[in-house]
């Protein structure tokens, strides 16, 4: 087995993907998820606003307590508080521990680097070649030429909608989510693998 020639045996890929997923969480304090990064990049404006909000919470936790108290009194009046209410405690509560938010620009760096990784892999295994049109393997099963470019676009649309709706893709739901044994992730992963199998079997049979 060579690191640079032919496809990796299953256990090498497994170790590599797991090391990256777990390592990402250890270093970044957040789960790795490519469609999540795509979504956050596309939603950059809201991401900036949320980051500002979190920053102000972390700076002044007393402001949160005061705001909650004010909102409670406004909603329910003085009767919301017990009769001999003690004054709010003098000590400051520790800041809310939120998962670290990665800024959109850093998500962009991450996504572009994935492309770089693909380039390095192809160059090191001498498999780099520029294909403007769908590859032979793709054309054999789905479609070639202009129709193939159309099916790539259509497939991409479904991937974009589906991953946004599900809240993740193979890395976010599959590796990180199933790695956390989250029931939703396990169900979603079964759904996308199951559908991938079903559709491919149909394509193999009829195309």
């Amino acid at each position: 087995m060579s690191l640079f020639q032919g496809y990796w045996p299953w256990w090498v890929g497994a170790i590599g993907l797991a090391a990256l997923t777990v390592g990402f969480f250890k270093v970044m304090g957040a789960t790795m998820g490519i469609s999540g990064s795509v979504g956050k990049l596309c939603n950059a404006r809201q991401e900036h606003e949320l980051a500002k909000l979190e920053g102000s919470l972390a700076e002044d936790p007393r402001a949160l307590d005061a705001a909650l108290l004010a909102a409670t009194l406004a909603q329910f009046g003085g009767s919301a508080l017990p009769p001999a209410a003690a004054p709010p405690p003098a000590e400051v509560h520790p800041p809310v521990a939120l998962p670290r938010r990665i800024p959109p620009s850093a998500h962009l760096t991450f996504l572009l680097s994935i492309g770089g990784g693909g380039l390095l892999a192809a160059l090191s295994s001498d498999t780099f070649s520029v294909n403007l049109w769908p590859t032979q393997d793709y054309a054999r099963v789905v479609a070639g030429g202009g129709v193939g470019l159309g099916t790539l676009l259509l497939g991409g649309l479904l991937v974009g909608v589906g991953t946004s709706m599900a809240g993740g893709c193979t890395s976010g739901l599959g590796l990180s989510g199933c790695g956390r044994l989250q029931p939703g992730s396990l169900a979603a992963t079964a759904a996308f693998f199951g559908t991938g199998v079903a559709v491919s079997l149909v394509l193999a049979r009829f195309m």
Binding site: C42, A121, T135, V142, G160, A204
Partner: protein
């Protein structure tokens, strides 16, 4: 080095390694993916399952579930998962693979990537406000 530069450096490293790994594993080649989906070669499926098994151990050791908020289940996870699987089989790319495919020279994957970006935008603008699947509250 500033914190910002360090952040970008770390994410570049992870991105490069991730793109390299999925390419060398074969997730970026339609032929290999198809072999997985039609059960003619278990290699990629075992790669994925093996990775998940190791992630379970690794993330548990790091107490990930104590440090991260849970992601409650909602029906969109099944519907979305199904649509994703449909798209994956049709274009041969999950979002990460599309990026790596472009890197390895398959510029046709720009069409897949364009679709992914368009789909992401379309969902957020037209579908998400109507379905309200995710639990209301802070979008943290």
């Amino acid at each position: 080095m500033s914190a910002r530069a360090a952040l970008h450096l770390k994410l570049s490293a992870f991105g490069l390694l991730f793109g390299f790994t999925i390419s060398r594993a074969g997730f970026t080649r339609y032929g290999e993916l198809h072999k997985m989906f039609v059960f003619s070669d278990p290699r990629l499926f075992l790669t994925f399952c093996g990775a998940v098994a190791l992630c379970v151990v690794g993330l548990a050791a790091l107490r990930a579930n104590q440090k991260l908020p849970p992601r409650p289940f909602h029906p969109g996870m099944i519907v979305g998962g199904t649509l994703f699987g449909l798209g994956w089989a049709i274009c041969g790319a999950c979002p990460g693979a599309a990026l790596a495919q472009i890197g390895q020279g398959d510029l046709c994957a720009l069409w897949s990537l364009s679709g992914i970006l368009a789909g992401t935008w379309l969902y957020r603008v037209f579908v998400k406000p109507k379905v309200k699947w995710e639990a209301p509250g802070c979008g943290l």
